[in-house]
């Protein structure tokens, strides 16, 4: 690949990062990509963590369920600061309901799943089931 194609090193790194993300998405073949909210999935060996950016959500209206390797997040984003007769200068934030189902790489233990909502970030920690953990072979 010709050097000039990339421009400066920062652009090059950004471009590489984007391509990496893109290929990760494609490799996983997630059928639900493109649905609100966007999610990131992380793994620490024992559990998966699903992280979504959901600013201004009513915690009481969040409905999170897991079954097998599926995690469902349902909720609503509404606009509480609004009085009836305000004049908008700019309106970019969307309001409404959402329902997202995420497929996790392995089965998780629904009874041990925990969720926190802080600073507009929802983090759901789903520990693997004992059966899923047993698949891993430790090398002494």
């Amino acid at each position: 690949m010709p050097y000039r194609y990339w421009g400066d090193p920062i652009t090059m790194l950004n471009e590489l990062r984007k391509r990496q993300l893109q290929s990760m998405r494609e490799a996983e073949g997630h059928e639900f990509a493109g649905v609100y909210p966007a999610v990131n999935i992380y793994d620490d060996g024992d559990a998966f963590m699903v992280r979504a950016e959901l600013p201004g959500i009513d915690k009481a209206k969040l409905d999170i369920t897991t079954k097998g390797n599926r995690l469902s997040i349902r909720g609503e984003r509404s606009c509480s600061q609004l009085a009836a007769d305000v004049a908008f200068h700019r309106r970019e934030r969307d309001m409404g309901t959402f329902h997202r189902v995420v497929s996790l790489p392995e089965h998780v233990d629904a009874s041990k799943t925990t969720a926190t909502y802080k600073n507009g970030i929802l983090e759901i920690v789903c520990p693997r089931t004992e059966a899923a953990k047993a698949h891993r072979v430790e090398i002494a």
């Binding site: 920062i10 493109g34 620490d44 963590m49 600013p55 700019r90 409404g96 600073n119």
Partner: protein, 134 residues
């Protein structure tokens, strides 16, 4: 406006850096609502992941600069699948003459920043009483 519509996914808008970056990671342009009440302009910005001590509002002449720092995920979590990038938020607003700069206030809750920009006295609507001559 109905409140029950299904939310659509929007890609975060990444900002192209000009000059040298002073902090690591990408920067995004937060989505904002700006509306006008009788006594004030109100700006609502989505800055998920930022707490009150991580948000800076900086007023210079007629421009209000919003910078929200976002901390990433604990290093023990290895990414397996990513749909969005985590980054800081930056946006600049021009403030008109009707705002009383000294009285601007802000608060953040659940990743939503609300900035209240009170209008100066003379910009407020005023009802003029008509007196009758007796």
């Amino acid at each position: 406006m109905t409140d029950k519509q299904e939310l659509q996914l929007r890609e975060k808008k990444e900002l192209k850096q000009e000059g040298e970056a002073t902090r690591e990671g990408p920067h995004f342009r937060p989505e904002v609502d700006i509306f006008e009440r009788e006594d004030a302009l109100v700006m609502v910005a989505d800055v998920p992941g930022s707490s009150n001590e991580q948000i800076e509002l900086d007023l210079q002449d007629n421009s209000l600069n919003l910078t929200a720092t976002v901390s990433g995920v604990d290093a023990k979590w290895k990414p397996v699948y990513l749909e969005y990038e985590i980054g800081h938020y930056i946006r600049q607003f021009r403030i008109g003459q009707i705002v009383d700069m000294a009285k601007i206030s802000a608060q953040v809750k659940d990743g939503v920043l609300v900035v209240t920009l009170p209008k100066i006295e003379k910009a407020m609507p005023r009802k003029i009483e008509v007196k009758s001559e007796q």
